[in-house]
Amino acid sequence: MTTEIGSETEVKKESEQLEANTAQEGTEEATESQIQPDLDNPVSEKVQSSPSSQAPVSQSSPTSHKKEKEPSEGKGISRFIPPWLKKQKSYTVAGPKDEAKKREQTSTGEECATEVGEHPLPEAAAESKGNLEEATQNQQEVKADDQEEKHSVSSAETQPAKEDSKDIEVEKVSEEKEEKEEKGEEGEKRETKEVQTTDLKMEKVSQKTPKKIKTLPCKVMLLDGTEYSYDLEKRAKGQVLFDKVCEQLNLLEKDYFGLVLQENSEQKSWLDPAKEIKRQIRNLPWLFTFNVKFYPPDPSQLTEDITRYFLCLQLRQDIASGHLPCSFVTHSLLGSYTLQAELGDYDPEEHNNDYISEFQFAPNQTKEMEEKVVELHKTHRGLTPAQADSQFLENAKRLSMYGVDLHHAKDSEGVDIMLGVCANGLLIYKDRLRINRFAWPKILKISYKRSNFYIKVRPTEQEQFESTIGFKLPNHRAAKRLWKVCVEHHTFYRLVSPEQPLKATFLTLGSKFRYSGRTQAQTRQASSLIDRPAPYFERTSSKRISRSLDGAPVGITKSDQSLLKDFAVTVGPAGDKIYDSEIGGHGKLKDGDGRDEDGSLTKTPQLELTQDGKSSHETLNVVEEKKQAEVGIEETIVTEEINRGKIQADADAGQTRKMGRLSKKDSSSLSSDSSSSESEDEDVGEYQPHHRVTEDTIKEEQEENEDVKGKEENAAKGVQCVETVQGSQVEVTVEHSQVSAEVLVPEKAVPTKISGEKNLMKEAQQNLREEKDEEQLKINGDVSHVDIDVAPQIICCSEPPVVKTEMVTISDATKRTEISTKEVPIVQTETKTITYESPQFDGSAGGDAGVLLSAQTITSESVSTTTTTHITKTVKGGVSETRIEKRIVITGDADIDHDQALAQAIKEAKEQHPDMSVTRVVVHKETELAEEDE
């Protein structure tokens, strides 16, 4: 059994890789970065950290720009394999339990089939499955082989780096096997796997549906004011687009840059490269701005002039827009360097009085300033454009607000202040004045809860105790945005390598977001290896630049807004459905979005509830070792004529189906949703900057956790085993770098409880749902490219079911690495029970003198999931009500993605019944946290 498990993990990895490769359309960089940002890192760092194997990979990654997989294939695959699917797929490998499988297969059977044709490596998958089933020790080897094969297939064209990775993989495989063996609790794992399997199927279904690769046009405003258009796959991650843009710009030192969502002009929201774009932009237009994200404190240390050039462009914008305040003299000086860089030496004949007015040097540019600029321009004779840029940067970098990301907030007394995040820490401003400053080393913890943002500060000489300082942000999203920016800045500027996502280590509520890109140290090291002749690049002509400077920032925002408006209008009518379905997955509606959309939704309480549910998910995610999650979902459906007809009719059969569906299609969207939710919807998030002293941090964490739940130490023996496994994994860190291979696992059709006949019904319904899903997609931002492929799905049913297996292990692996490097071994076990209850407003349930039409209870069980559904139909005052109570219990240990499972469950339920409300979410966790130090 142990062997099986091991193989599974590998499979996961492979699948991951596959995904990454495909998703990123052959850009290996992108893949790697997505999967594991660390990989990109320079060798030395990796060496420092335990995983030595990563180093080669990482090196290769930057170099390999060119690898181009056939776009069509890549897109298709990626399409089909959403990132979140990976885990689930891996699970597929495990022996499915009957019940669970039944459901899944019912759903999957239909949908899964589609994929077969599309999968590049069907045979491999088949092989892998067979092996898995056999569950022999030999499997390990086989799998390894499979992986390699897969690698070759999928990524053969690509880089040498991958080859390296293969070796690494092998190592990992063995390690992983060990881990799993140690675990010994295979049953649990299997359960988990099953759940995921279902998810996988769902995903497949969804993916399969569109046979064509759906692409969405997206636009990126570049720093020179030009617009870059690119057709992206719907499910593409942020990294794909970012890499495309950087490729277009011929930019290698790209870690300083990022893409900004055109959300509102007030505050920048960064596109998370590790997540699907679709999930991040929601219903905004696919319009982004390429910007500097981390301002290099010393631009002279940048390797390439082209990087400095883009930094200059950004700063010119910052200055002209007033975001980077300068004195008159500095405006003039910087302007004069701009002239020198763009126009060359001052030429009295060519440069008449007007030549300068095309440029904007300052928010309010005066004639006097222009004269000063010209005067200074004359003094720069002989400076090359690159030199002029350097001079520009040397002066700009000293501006006090250089690289400071400002956020509006209020202090504890309600006074308006600004929080500025910069390379060195957190700055507190009141009006223009700096009233406090917290250097990163002084900050023990950064967290947010709802719209509050907290920093825990190291005790000073005078004070004995560490203090926590709270700030009030305008809203929850602003708080989260600030928190994320802090996490990213701290990681980028202070750490040698990024911290791994929270998952396994801490038991926390809330976001597990971590900066996944390269740190400044890493990017410096990487760029020191850049070996190419200085690339030629065309500077913006003076005119273009002037336009861009003048109009671009403003113009862009305007256009964006107009776009938004349009969008809102279009979306509006269809919106209800969509939102409903989405609500289940995430609390999107809550914050800013909520305002717009809430109007249509009468169920505010629902929204909140959903959110609660979410947070619970997140918690689950965080805790990996041993978890039990109970999700009780009560759906109250007031049926209305049209929809009900179907729902009611199907209700009986439909229930079962729902489960299946959950795992299938919804899961895909759900899982991604959950990820998006991470970025934007969590109520809370914590981040503890790691200074060398990690123990303290952990302790603190524990303390906090204690507040929430009773904590038990060393509660679960099995858990401990798991942890041990993790320890071994630590060394494996290389995982991400490895190129994963796809494993296609043929699924045996296991008859669901529901008879096969129902499948037909289901199919029909599914089609409907598919449409619904399609709509959702649209809403998320793609208006033009909505392909509703109902037919293919149906076809799928008839086709032999194939399940893709994918694993996403990145986060875990990374984490472990870190742990090994930094932390002292600590074993902690925690048990946590969280209950969210919503005010119950489901009057339907009550004894409202309704007439009971029918009552039904359906129970389905899998190892990991038990679903009990009560369906009650009543007629009250001429209105028929169907009340469906669904109780979903998800049980499992580390390998279960509770978030997803929960999100799926909720979402599926939501989708089935838009009016559903979640009344109770109970999360019961038993967690063991173990960290091993070398």
Binding site: S332, R432, L433
Partner: protein, 289 residues
């Protein structure tokens, strides 16, 4: 190459100056000048001699072009020109002194600075007060003491005026001004008094700053107010209180080997809270003049 490039580069421009503005003391100073402690009587003649010595150092010893403004008997504190303006690079902020009796001192200063072709910014907000004595410019950033003479609004206007620089506020409790117990003694070097208040203020400044400053701790707060100049032909120049006044502190200064040390006594003006920096405004005109 003006502006930041020359003056701001890693505080290398600190203390660079070509001009100084001073003002002679009026006789009314003895009786009417504002003071925190009225213990001792000011010997006007001696005060005048000390001041002339002071101006003489700037003029002849350091070769600065010194603009001497005439005294105004209606403005007993007018000798303390530092409080009425903050000059940084080419820009001069004309302040709104915290003491109402001193508000008119700005007029003469404004005219003088205009004659030097500086960009003049006036603090017109009636809610704002700022004494130059509360402004410590380190070459990299400003620290503004929030004292009885200087309020938040005044500091804000200063920040608006000198946008290139961070402006941090430092609470000042026991002293008249921030610079009553500290000053710059060199690039990146802060002279600081030993009193508790002074040390606390220094801690605040250190916390608020992204830069790391060296500190020169002297036993006497008043001695921590010194004048650092960077004169092309002389190098680092430090005007500090004479050993007769503060022998222990003088010994500390004498350890600065790279500095040209010029002890200056200021016993009389000290009685009316005058420190060394109070009596002059330094300007660095690079281009014309």
């Amino acid at each position: 190459m003006a502006g930041l490039s020359s003056s701001g580069s890693s505080a290398g421009g600190l203390g660079r100056c070509s001009h100084a503005v001073v003002r002679a003391l009026p006789e009314s100073l003895c009786r009417q000048a504002l003071r925190r402690e009225k213990d001792s009587e000011v010997d006007f003649a001696r005060a005048e001699r000390e001041h002339q010595l002071y101006v003489g150092v700037l003029k002849s010893k350091l070769g600065l072009q010194v603009l001497e403004l005439p005294p105004d008997e209606s403005l007993p504190d007018c000798v303390f020109v530092e409080d009425v303006t903050v000059v940084c690079e080419e820009t001069a902020l004309i302040t709104r002194p915290g003491a109402p009796s001193r508000r008119k001192e700005v007029e003469a200063m404004k005219r003088a600075l205009e004659s030097l072709n500086l960009n003049i910014v006036e603090m017109t907000d009636e809610n704002a007060t700022l004494d130059g004595g509360d402004v410590l410019f380190t070459g990299r950033e400003f620290f503004v003491g929030l004292s009885k003479r200087t309020n938040q609004r005044g500091a804000e206007i200063l920040a608006d005026t000198f946008k290139d620089y961070a402006v941090s506020t430092v609470p000042v409790y026991d002293s008249l001004h921030l610079k009553s117990f500290c000053s710059m003694a060199g690039p990146n070097l802060i002279a600081i008094g030993s009193s508790e208040a002074a040390q606390k203020a220094l801690k605040t400044m250190q916390q608020m700053s992204d830069h790391r400053y060296d500190k020169l701790t002297v036993p006497d707060d008043a001695a921590a107010n010194c004048i650092y100049l960077n004169i092309p032909s002389k190098g680092h120049v430090l005007l500090h209180r004479a050993p007769e006044e503060y022998p222990e502190s003088a010994k500390v200064f004498e350890k600065l080997k790279d500095h040209m040390l010029i002890p200056i006594a200021s016993t009389e003006l000290a009685k009316v809270d005058g420190a060394l920096t109070c009596c002059s405004v330094f300007i660095n005109k690079t281009s014309e003049l």
